[in-house]
Symmetry: C2
Subunit: 361 residues, 2 copies
């Protein structure tokens, strides 16, 4: 563990996230349950059925399938779309989770070719989609584009993309790992977003902050096929309730807070943008997340943050990444942790951060 | 739910298994833990590291990787073996889990061809292996052969097979889903079995009776590759502790009981074999499991069992399968449940079963 991580775990309060990922996240969700509740058995049972159906209904989809991970759920969604058209090419943004975080699972397990649309600096557009020359089965759109800092297209643009894909018979899949987090910005219901897509993946351990797990939503046939693939992947576990029950528990608790997280993210970004040499991306967040970009090396920033954590007892990040051009950055994702801080504590934290960066040059 | 399942769930005692699979299996394992224990994070952390290392050490292997499921672990083991030799053919028994329970995941995800050795009535032998004409990368052996009722080759035969595979450069993989359960019969340590294989999969929800999960053991390079594939499959979850902690908990509690389960299985099989029209396979069990084969239709047996459960309050099975030749059968797997029954309760249960079968003809 490096210095930053060591000091970070000793902090008592945090700017980022929902607090430490310890086993209380699980035990709290089970605390008040009758221990005679039966396990789901290989994807069947009262809890899993109800959970899948409720989300599908709210999203305006026919059915849902609970998965241990989004990686598994999304590869399967894309494979089904390819099998239907017998075209093993799909398109997505170069910063898609499948492209950079999954060890090329999609390519190694399915031999599916990927066309990259947009770049590190901008979202993919309808124009990009129209410019694809070869046949494709599927387009994946991630809302928000997490690895850019959390950017969103306008809802009107999504509608146009959806219309175009429908006309062309292209399956439109939504990577909605952080979809609950963007509903306040769009001022739309889950259904108003999901209706634009043929299939949707939602995650339960990002803003929702549960233990792990994902759901894939689509029509009946799509979900039936997805269950077969889930078995093939070894994701059809005898018991998925250790993920389903906390997902259900934290959905109830944190979905009503998404608007607050979003407002707090905008406030915090505004404070950070006043510091010289600091910029957030997006400048005005459109969800609970953004990137903080800072002039200077990772070493210099680490030095400043270690001092800041010691002095305030408040942790900000334990994961700084380098950027080209002598800058570095880290991700911020607002959850329960920031809600526990008083305004004056945040102001003081920002003031000390500002001073440390000045002195650190 | 059919009649048999309905009456079965209302039983208060059971012959089969470790008792109902309800959420207390999870909550009991977490009850006395400090809730500040940190989650593992994408396969790293104190609990997962210790668990993997301890099992690897006991099995005489260099390393271990915890997986959410055996399906995932074994497909990956076979893929790695094939990649090494660049030969995409492997051999196993026609009743292998991969052949009959995984929706052809191995073939659909890896295009690996399978050669079937042995048949429904007998285990695969060294002779079968020697008779394979085409090149293969890997042989999978399951101990015990579950879908036959739980048969085992002699240890000496395993040694011969292992020696032959080593000479020929064939990767020998062990499906040890129920390996802890056969150690009493072999009178061998985990290491004495595992040393015969290049890679080993162990499961935590069969005899061990935890929530779910598996471990794959092998050398360092093998396990390093397995972790990359685990990420590709979407099995590298942010938090696997909901499976690891119960696996650890029930390993401690049930491994010392495997000898008792085995003895009880032999006693029960002997009692059943005295009933006319009833036979167990194996006749004398070699683990905690066996099949009970019964003359007559599934409907007739269901009728008798419904009466038996009503009369005794003791459940035997809720899953009867048909066999060719006017017979049916079910699987028995001895665990904690039978240990809670007094000898006279078991004797009475067998006596009533005998009478019901006689009257039912």
């Amino acid at each position: 563990m490096d210095d930053l991580k060591k000091v970070y775990v000793e902090c008592k309060q945090f700017i980022n996230g929902n607090g430490p990922r310890n086993i209380s996240i699980l035990t709290e969700a089970f605390e008040d349950l009758d221990t005679n509740i039966s396990s789901d058995m290989y994807g069947q049972g009262a809890w899993i059925d109800a959970f899948q159906e409720e989300l599908a209904r709210e999203a305006g989809k026919e059915a849902g399938v609970f998965f241990p991970s989004g990686t598994m759920a999304q590869q399967i969604a894309l494979r089904i779309a390819c099998d239907r058209k017998k075209i093993y090419s799909i398109a997505y943004h170069p910063l898609a989770h499948l492209e950079i975080h999954e060890q090329d699972g999609l390519k190694k397990l399915h031999q599916i070719k990927t066309i990259l649309l947009g770049d590190q600096e901008r979202l993919l557009t309808l124009q990009d989609i129209k410019s694809i020359e070869q046949p494709i089965s599927c387009i994946l759109i991630e809302l928000p584009q997490r690895e850019m800092g959390g950017y969103l297209p306008d809802y009107a643009d999504l509608v146009e993309i959806s219309k175009y894909c429908q006309e062309k018979g292209i399956h439109l899949h939504l990577d909605g790992a952080r979809l609950f987090e963007v509903l306040p910005y769009y001022k739309k219901t889950l259904q108003e977003i999901c209706v634009l897509f043929d299939s949707v993946y939602l995650s339960f351990y990002k803003g929702i902050g549960a233990v792990a797990g994902a759901v894939l939503l689509g029509n009946h046939n799509f979900c039936k096929e997805a269950k077969v693939w889930k078995r093939r992947y070894g994701g059809d576990l005898i018991s998925l309730y250790p993920y389903i029950i906390p997902a259900n528990y934290y959905m109830d608790r944190r979905r009503p807070l998404m608007e607050t997280y979003y407002e707090k993210a905008k406030d915090l970004a505004a404070l950070l943008n006043k510091i010289q040499g600091v910029a957030t991306y997006p400048q005005i967040p459109v969800s609970n997340m953004f990137h903080v970009s800072i002039e200077g090396s990772r070493e210099k920033l680490t030095e400043a943050l270690v001092k800041l954590y010691h002095s305030t007892g408040i942790g900000f990040t334990n994961n700084i990444k380098e950027k080209v051009g002598g800058q570095c950055f880290f991700e911020v994702s607002i959850g329960d942790a920031l809600l526990k801080l008083e305004d004056h504590e945040i102001d003081n934290f920002i003031k000390e951060f500002d001073e440390l960066l000045k002195n650190n040059k």
